[in-house]
């Protein structure tokens, strides 16, 4: 990573392009004519203290910053629950075509037939993969999809005269977004404990449901990476009480073509196109969080949906597939959850990803699950010499023989043996040139590391990670506890960051 060391690049200290800024054509009207268009009393008094920078300075600044950032392109990124798979570059090239980048969501449908056909194809593909009846592409993130689906469920209950259903059940191992999304709709959260093996406690679920149950939110495979075989029984319990079943699609990468949320008894599901369908994560977003629902919820979906009919002679030219694409407004729609049609650019990238696999998406899930099980196996079953070299072996987060696309390890034995924590090991991994797994989640596994390799990592990468991981478990505890040592900065003082808030550069405020 080229530019290590003390070098600092402060964008606010550049002195290029002062005054002029980036060169632009002249305005159509004179300065005084433009000034006359701004009402008295609200003319800007002082311009913002933005950088004064030329393009050469900025290109070097952002290139330098990029070298101080770790992506999948940099190295292995086994961040459990986040599905950090390779992002094919073709998808970026496609998303930059003017037929998507330079398109306005309010253009009439005859100007956007190509994009509508892609929307329709994606809706249909996601319906098929999930066993749902209708998909909307509007939500732009997983949590946004959860919120949207819970709003549809809320309206469904209200229409049935059951607005007293005010509780949503989530397992204690659920992603934090589940309870947060339900709470934003005004629901009260009922958390149910998982069994010792991480599985649903059906007795606890039976005790939790009732006339006030609006829905249950759950992911399967669970956040422990284990498929819940009694999911259908759980669905029956919730449905029996009049509640709806919501599938958190964060772990969808594990099951494509093998089973689907419809078969498991779910009524609604969200997909993370930025996980399963490879929309790049971009340092935290954009994402895309479409939802799919069964017919009884379809009337409530956000508006509009992509629809089609057979093309007729009076229609203008279509895309050549025999269909005319339009928008359709769901009958009892909850309206909008995003201003436009969601993250269309992410949908197009995910469409390009889907097209690579087509009906063989099942292979993608097979390889994701193969990689996770393989990695778990070689970490937990090292040769005798390696095993003797570690202070303490981790234990599986759950005792299952096989896992799905991810798995958890508890490093409690290591803490007890030499005082090295999960966080220490996670930080030490950074010195070996890999990203840390997800740390301390789910909270029901002590000293938890959650590892998801995805289908795009080769056997050699997995072998190397297992070897490095086991090496760390045998290293000098002081070395591990003070890690990382070779990164751009060493362990960051997060406590001081929160106590002494410095949330912007002082330029302009002095």
């Amino acid at each position: 990573m080229g530019f290590r060391g003390e070098r600092v690049s402060d964008i606010f200290s550049f002195n290029g392009a002062i005054g002029a800024g980036w060169a632009q054509p002249e305005p159509m009207l004179s300065e005084s004519e433009v000034n006359a268009t701004i009402p008295d009393g609200i003319r800007r008094s002082k311009l913002p203290a933005w950088p004064n920078a030329s393009e050469p300075e900025l290109v070097r600044h952002y290139t330098w910053l990029s070298t101080r950032n770790f992506g999948i392109d940099t190295g292995f990124y086994p961040l459990g629950s986040c599905t950090m798979k390779h992002n094919p570059r073709l998808n970026e090239r496609i998303a930059n075509l003017p037929g998507i980048d330079r398109l306005h969501p309010l253009q009439p449908v005859h100007q956007i037939q190509g994009l509508l056909s892609i929307f329709y194809e994606m809706q249909e593909m996601l319906e098929i993969c999930s066993g749902m009846d209708q998909v909307t592409l509007q939500p732009v993130a997983g949590a946004h999809g959860e919120f949207t689906a819970m709003r549809c469920i809320q309206e469904y209950h209200r229409d049935n005269g059951e607005s007293h259903r005010d509780k949503v059940i989530v397992p204690d191992s659920a992603h934090g977004t589940n309870p947060a999304s339900a709470a934003m709709c005004g629901y009260q959260i009922v958390e149910i404990p998982s069994g010792e093996d991480g599985r649903i406690d059906l007795e606890a679920l039976k005790a939790a449901v009732g006339e006030d149950t609006a829905a249950m939110m759950i992911t399967n495979p669970s956040t422990l990476g284990v498929f819940e075989p009694e999911i259908l029984a759980a669905s029956e319990i919730v449905h029996g009480a009049g509640g709806q079943m919501y599938y958190d699609g964060a772990n969808f990468n594990a099951i494509l073509g093998k089973t689907d949320p419809g078969l498991m008894g779910f009524d609604a599901v969200h997909y993370n196109l930025h996980k399963t369908f490879s929309q790049p994560h971009g340092g935290g977003g954009p994402g895309s969080g479409p939802i799919g629902v069964k017919n009884h919820l379809a009337a409530y979906l956000p508006t509009p949906l992509a629809a089609r009919r057979e093309i007729s002679e009076s229609d203008p030219k279509g895309v050549g597939d025999g269909f005319w694409y339009t928008w359709e407004i769901p009958e009892k729609t909850i309206g909008k959850v995003q201003q436009w049609h969601g993250n269309a650019g992410a949908v197009v990238r995910s469409w390009a990803f889907y097209r690579r696999f087509g009906r063989e998406l099942e292979k993608m899930s097979e390889h994701a699950v193969l990689a996770a099980n393989y990695l778990r196996h070689i970490i937990m079953n090292p040769d005798k010499e390696t095993q003797e070299g570690v202070h303490a072996m981790p234990v599986n987060g759950v005792p299952a023989d096989v896992v799905m696309h991810e798995f958890t390890l508890s490093l409690s034995p290591l803490v007890e043996a030499v005082g090295v924590t999960g966080k220490d090991v996670a930080k030490r991994l950074l010195d070996y040139g890999v990203m840390s797994p997800t740390l301390y989640f789910p909270m029901i596994v002590p000293e938890c590391l959650m590892i998801e390799p995805t289908e795009t990592e080769s056997k050699e990468v997995l072998d190397k990670f297992a070897a490095d991981f086991l090496t760390i478990l045998g290293e000098d505890p002081d070395l591990v506890k003070t890690a990382p040592h070779t990164t751009d900065v060493r362990r960051v003082d997060e406590v001081s960051a929160a106590r002494n808030l410095i949330l912007r550069h002082p330029k302009g405020t002095e």
Partner: protein
Amino acid sequence: MDQLPNLGREQEMLSIMGMDSIDELFSNIPENIRRSNSLPLRAPQTEEEIWHDAQHLLGANVDLDSRPSFLSAGLARNFVPAMVGAMATRGEFLTSYTPYQPEVSQGMLQAMWEFQTMISELVGLPVANVSMYDASTAAAEALTCAVRVNGRKATQKGVVYVSQFIPPHRMQVIENYLQGGDTEIRILEHSGDGHIDLNAAANAVGSCAVYVEQPNAFGVLDAGISNLKSIVGENTAVIVGVDVVSLGLVEAPGNYGADIVVGEGQPFGIGPTFGGPIYGIFACAKKYLRQMPGRIVGQTVDVDGKLAYTLTLSTREQHIRRHRATSNICSNETLIALMGAMHMALLGPGGLEKLARRVAASTEATKRAVLSIDGVELVDPKAANFREFAVILPIDAAAAVSYADAAGINAGFDLGVWWADYGMSRCLLIGCDERTSQSDIEALVSALSQWVSEVSV
């Protein structure tokens, strides 16, 4: 299939685990919930074939650069400098996740801290987050944030006032987001001249928040908004939705008392891209900091005392606070915000002002030209406009839009789609930008004149 490095090596890996087949890995899925057939989808394609299909399908769309276009309604047909795409698609940025491990994420963290600074400067408030999904969710979460902060002291419990003239889509997003608490949305009326009715604004005293837009949905700039804070007082949040480019000429709302500023960041960083991914900006006064949604980056040091950046105030967020979090937002629009930061940095203060002047000038020039057509009048004749203005046509605007479309021009947005109930079926919203050319204006005027003369016969 070229995305699977272990293709053909399945048996080798399985045998190391003591397994014979892939099926064993899925043995936990009970028979009664297994798919009985393979996915009924199309055959896999190669990169070349996908590119071919993408060019065909996306090429069938009419892109805004291919014809004169006056369609805006909240999105900008902007010009994004080449540097932005080239830098933002560097794999280290593009393929990273949320920077949970600051030691190997200093690049994105510093870039977002710089972004926060630029937004803070732009709107005149001390704190900004690293983005919301769009302007609408930013506005909605600003209102819920204000209810949390001001709810206890409010005499109008849970009440928020929202300007009558915000885009209806945004109002729907706000209504969805305000389902949760015991909140009530009341409409803040506008006067006949399109401006906020400042007498009606006095009704908002004692409520949790007032949300207004500068300019409003018709592009009207309203000097009266700068008096709102003194009318509603300290315990009611003044939330202003802005056109970010306008702030090169129009006063930063933080400087006239706004407590929270939101808006569509899209004009900085990314094309209209069919409405997403774009990004909402969110900035606030210190009073609202601990109740604000979204990620925030702080500056700190590492164990050696070296300058460092990290995500901070995470205890507001869903992964820690779960159902008590300030918002459910997790994935946001960081990469698009990064593109915005690059664009803003390249513009600089002078470039921002010039960009705002170009948009203001093209708006005014288009307005003058369109008003020269007999039978076309302004909806708000005395109002000042930025980027957009609304005109009344002799008959339905839908007909004008179709007519111009046939002549190869996107004439604007038919306001009847949004506000038929307000009797706006004859109103056309004409949007201008830095790319509007003299010949675009001539083409629009020529088409509209011809249309008016045909329909007036």
